[in-house]
Symmetry: C2
Subunit: 254 residues, 2 copies
């Protein structure tokens, strides 16, 4: 039997997990997927994830691949594996890809959303999926600040220190700030070709400093120039972040 | 020191509670409020709740009152008690009311929402706040069926059997069915002067039978006439239900 490579589209509520990547101390999205797929297919499965999201970060559309010799059609694996996964992880689609298709070696376009609940008291049913800010935010100032980040830049100031990367140059295609739910939920939607470690959360934390009036919008241009993590705002909490979508140019969007 | 009666507006995520009402086996919204208020005010507090929601049911605006001799201004209690409550219960407002003001002895208008996620795979981050239905629903048929329930009727068929009530006649002011989030979330919004035990969940379960084509819309008129719980659809799961709003006629809406 020939083997095949299967791609999974994965959604999860990150609240109860120690992030994507396998850890010694605690269950992760990756360890749950490996367990469920190994159980289903009767062979040891190790998935390769596209984005190794942090503890507490949510996803609507992360991506993973694995190789299998199983005769189960790739499209059917999605339903069978969900029956073996906890309700807070769902494979939303499965399909065969080329044997050399690798999620981190493909050109891709990623969309993240950072959600900020901006009101005196945080609604209990929203508490796990957003960051809470008490004071009103200056949305127009935040939008102007975001404008400085769009394009190709060295985002060294927006990368957790000690992250080991060859280059800190990345391209942000778009940052949109939208209000939902009667204006109380601010959604910062960031689309880019790739992101550094904690980059979206540091962008959110920095825009919040602008929204509160602690940073002027034009100071964000200076932060970029400084290439120094300590110049930017704090890393906003993980629970506000959701990996919304992966797109692979040349493939039809789903 | 004169005593005063304080009204609380209470929001909660019902997931981790055995409902509103104090139970011998398990924590409830009422027991948490009593504990936090007793701790804050240094005197034994017992709240009287407006709606004793079931285990798993959520609220944005339930109402409770209690009497206190505390000198803390009624308006400030809200903030102080939240510091003593878990994050999944929030008092969104507190205020003094007349000493005889009783939440279940006042004319009131209540709005409930029943949320149904209608797609093949349930998004993990939505799983605690909606009921999941795989198959597409006939929304127009559901709207026509809902029309039969609006007005003053004997809702005996829509009340859990053995519920001890003097009369099963209630008035439903409005039932609206709206689609949110790209059409995947169906929200059934029911407003009425009062509801029987499980009434909104049985209405939702019955409209779902219509949406799936198992009941004709006009059969709902027959269900009302039968005055028999077994004629209606099943009681839809608790987690889809949210008590959205209480209004007391003659008071300004908040």
């Amino acid at each position: 039997m020939e083997g095949k490579r299967v791609r999974l589209w994965v959604a999860y509520d990150g609240t109860n997990y120690h992030g994507w990547q396998i850890q010694n101390n605690g269950i992760t999205i990756e360890s749950e997927l490996n367990r469920a797929l190994t159980d289903l297919l009767g062979e040891e499965v190790k998935v390769i994830g596209a984005s190794r999201t942090d503890s507490g970060v949510h996803a609507l559309g992360n991506v993973a691949v694995f190789d299998t010799k199983s005769p189960i059609p790739a499209e059917k694996i999605c339903y069978a594996v969900n029956a073996r996964l906890p309700e807070d992880i769902r494979v939303t689609r499965s399909e065969e890809v080329a044997p050399d298709w690798h999620p981190r070696k493909r050109e891709s376009r990623k969309t993240y959303e950072y959600r900020i609940y901006c009101a005196e008291i945080l609604q209990p049913v929203k508490r796990l999926y957003c960051h809470h800010v008490y004071r009103p935010l200056d949305l127009e100032a935040m939008r102007r600040a975001a404008g400085y980040l769009v394009g190709e830049h060295d985002f060294k100031s927006f990368c957790q220190e000690n992250a080991q990367v060859e280059s800190t140059v990345r391209t942000v295609y778009d940052i949109a700030l939208e209000q939902e739910e009667d204006g109380s939920m601010l959604v910062i939607r960031v689309t880019g070709g790739g992101f550094l470690y904690n980059m979206v959360r540091i962008i959110a934390g920095t825009l919040l400093e602008v929204g509160c009036g602690r940073f002027a919008p034009e100071y964000v241009a200076e932060i970029l120039e400084k290439k120094d993590r300590s110049a930017a705002g704090p890393t906003a909490p993980a629970k506000g972040l959701t990996l919304v979508k992966y797109e692979f140019p040349g493939e039809a969007e789903r």
